[in-house]
Symmetry: C2
Subunit: 197 residues, 2 copies
Amino acid sequence: MDKANIILDAMKTLLEQDDGASCSVSDIAKKAGIGKGSIYYYFKSKDEIFDALVEREYHQIIENCRVLMNRSYADAAQKFALLFRSYRSSTSLLAMDHYLHQQQNAAIHQKSLAKILSSLSPIVADIIRQGVEEKSFRCEKPQETAEIILSVYCFLYDPGIFKWTPEQLKEKASALATLLENGLSAAKGSFQFLYQT
Amino acid sequence: MDKANIILDAMKTLLEQDDGASCSVSDIAKKAGIGKGSIYYYFKSKDEIFDALVEREYHQIIENCRVLMNRSYADAAQKFALLFRSYRSSTSLLAMDHYLHQQQNAAIHQKSLAKILSSLSPIVADIIRQGVEEKSFRCEKPQETAEIILSVYCFLYDPGIFKWTPEQLKEKASALATLLENGLSAAKGSFQFLYQT
DNA sequence: TGTTGTTCGACCGACGGTCGAACAATGAGA
DNA sequence: TCTCATTGTTCGACCGTCGGTCGAACAACA
């Protein structure tokens, strides 16, 4: 396997092990079974390793979402729900995710949120555009609107930043659904999936 | 003056100087004119110093916003604009932002964003409630809606997370304004202040 | 003079990152 | 096929800096 990927695997393993507490470059090198100097032959800095790991881990998830959207024949609201559920189930399988929500991994967490938003927003924007064509949504700026929706989801719903109770989360989801229904001039209940189940 | 506040002043000054690059505990001690050991007589850790600084600096800003809202006689949309401008001008004076937007301080950054959201959201919620009473807004969940609006501001507009151009920011603000106008059933142009100037 | 509160900077371990020596792999010229 | 020079790769000792500790020393006061 690629040496760079061996390094990323080592870091991922360490992040999953003990809350990422012992994730120094030396630790990564030891876990990867190579010298510390070699790490810096493949990566310029520790931050760059972070970036590469985030890139690698989320690439597959995003790709799955994209494929799902392209091969599904559904109206915009249904696609929204499909995407929402697909993404939720994918990330719940990502073992790293739980550790991202801890204080000491805030930097990589932030980077991964930024990646999610920038990768998913074009997909969400396409759904909105489809809704506009189908006359079920009204929206002049699909891309920016998609970013707004996702930023709420990334930030307000993040268990690493806020400790809401399930009831509070449901209230917020319901408020977002109403805001989107009216904001996009969509049919009542189009965004029910946000707070159901 | 209180020794603790002298230390906070020193840190604030250093953060304002060169993007917080030289803001080690030793630097803070030197700037404050005391020994490094004394720092740890007043604070348990560097994080605690920064928490105290965030608390002190944002308390005043939030308080200003609260007072401004209470003594202003304006309709809800005007109050929104007032609050927005007051907050923007206050935070632009805060040079701490540079420090917060560096990778290694992501944890503290998150904390301060969470503080902003939880402190400002009740104020925004009150504005929305006023708008509902005045029949200029329609909203069933003012508190949650306020949090949604603020989370967009805290996350999507954060220069430490995303590097948007001014034009892109304006597009996003315009999209948010439209979404809010429709989402709150407000009059066209109610949220123009978001993307003007 | 004893006690308590305060100050201090030398010191510590850990960190991210550097460095040059050493080792493998390659291929051109004889 | 045997050099040998070149290039790519590996390594851990080493560096400077950081956040944080520590005990000695000092100040204030009873």
